[in-house]
Symmetry: C2
Subunit: 276 residues, 2 copies
């Protein structure tokens, strides 16, 4: 998927919501556990009920790997279901991979070619040759970790390197590896006040923003400081949507929560003259 197509979808749906499919068998409705593939059945129902309110889905691979072969199969079925039934949806493998060049190439192949995701999250610690193999795929997107939403972000990411913070050094250095067509960044919603500075460094790249809801980030703050002419934001919500109810009405309740967020986004887009 191209960046332009994604921006068109955002304008059409008046939403820049991404729904995180972090499926934990301890949290999904009990009646699903009797089915052959409860993870996929849960995802399918959530996707069918919420797709009109969002532009992206983001399964985090940890939640699938934790269930071994069955988990990996559920991940494959989920991305296949999305690609077949909702090809207009932007798909993100939240995998946070990164390795030496020839190994990163295997990861890129796995997520882009075999599974068919539009994008994958990548960790920057190993530098240029660990990221470039992901950038070589046409119409695919590399989403590099910059400033994450967790407390641990302050251990290294905000430390001063070469007279700037490490996460800014990551932005500055990595800018030349790709461009705003194929390179996005993760910036946590819990650190919205950093977004003004971040936008000075990367005015055009999309940001994937986790941390709204359960982690305490504010949608309004993120948009105030992080929005661009092309919107430039994908706001992720996982637990707040998919676990809105643990009863049989889980998909319906998830849709209600997704719809609420989509409505807030519509208001924000209307009030942002540059985004109309």
């Amino acid at each position: 998927m191209t960046k332009e197509f994604l921006v068109d979808q955002i304008r059409k749906k008046q939403s820049f919501l991404c729904i995180g499919l972090d499926v934990d068998l301890n949290k999904i409705p009990e009646h699903l556990l009797k089915l052959e593939d409860p993870i996929f059945e849960f995802n399918k129902a959530i996707i069918d009920a919420t797709h009109q309110f969002c532009v992206a889905y983001k399964p985090n691979t940890a939640f699938y790997e934790a269930y071994g072969l069955k988990g990996w199969q559920a991940l494959e079925k989920t991305i296949d279901y999305l690609n077949k039934n909702y090809p207009e949806i932007f798909t993100i493998a939240d995998a946070k991979r990164g390795d030496i060049g020839n190994t990163s190439r295997m990861y890129a192949k796995a997520f882009f070619e075999d599974l068919g995701f539009d994008s994958v999250t990548v960790a920057p610690y190993m530098g240029k040759d660990s990221v470039e193999p992901f950038l070589e795929f046409k119409d695919k997107h590399t989403i590099l970790l910059a400033l994450t939403s967790n407390e641990g972000a302050f251990d290294f990411q905000t430390k001063t390197v070469d007279h700037t913070e490490l996460y800014k050094k990551v932005l500055i250095t990595s800018k030349s590896w790709g461009n705003s067509q194929n390179l996005m960044y993760v910036v946590g919603a819990t650190k919205a006040e950093y977004l003004t500075d971040i936008r000075k460094l990367i005015p055009d790249n999309f940001l994937l923003v986790p941390g709204i809801g359960a982690q305490g980030g504010s949608l309004e703050e993120v948009c105030k400081y992080g929005m661009t002419q092309n919107v430039g934001l994908l706001i992720n919500s996982s637990r707040g949507i998919i676990y809105a109810s643990s009863a049989e009405d889980y998909a319906e309740k998830a849709a209600e929560q997704a719809s609420k967020l989509q409505q807030s986004m519509t208001v924000i887009l209307r009030n942002q003259p540059k985004c109309k």
Copy 2:
């Protein structure tokens, strides 16, 4: 497996060799491709032929994920085979994972509990709460990336942070998260000259050292600067051993290469009075 057991194995086998099981279907002998599970058959033959020369095996997950469900199954079969037939072998999932706390916990569960690895490599960029869930498992080992063997290591890892290099900051900060019983570090063999300084910061932790052979690192240099009283080193070789031959004699040739490295290690251990 405890650290003491690993050290005992090293002394018994006079080897601190780790063999990287990075299986690429384009590189393995053609006759294996006709079999139902060529990846596992290749690993099984390599393991049977080389286990007496090494103390550890390290499959890199990228090479398995690249083959989807079949790849993941081959990884499961490989670790099961190792745990059943060679329980004295230290096993490393080279996965370079790391995510926010509740998500890292899922990865830790996947690699330690479900797959049954002794250790997993973890990326430090997301800080303490992304690493701690791995450290909570008894007799399991977290191998944190410090200074990697690739060129990209110079993009961020060697940059100055708080008056020291980022990789040293990672060592200093992470030391308090675990201890030398459950925390190891990745330090590339291509940067052996850095080991003197590294050993001042972490005198007792084991180091997993990739980059010998195909990547150009020197075994002697690494041992000269990195060895401790408890040896403290696991030297990895992947391509140089497992692809020593692409003909039907691949396992035999792999054993020859592993044996050569083991013999060099025996000489080094004999000449290091502190390691006798």
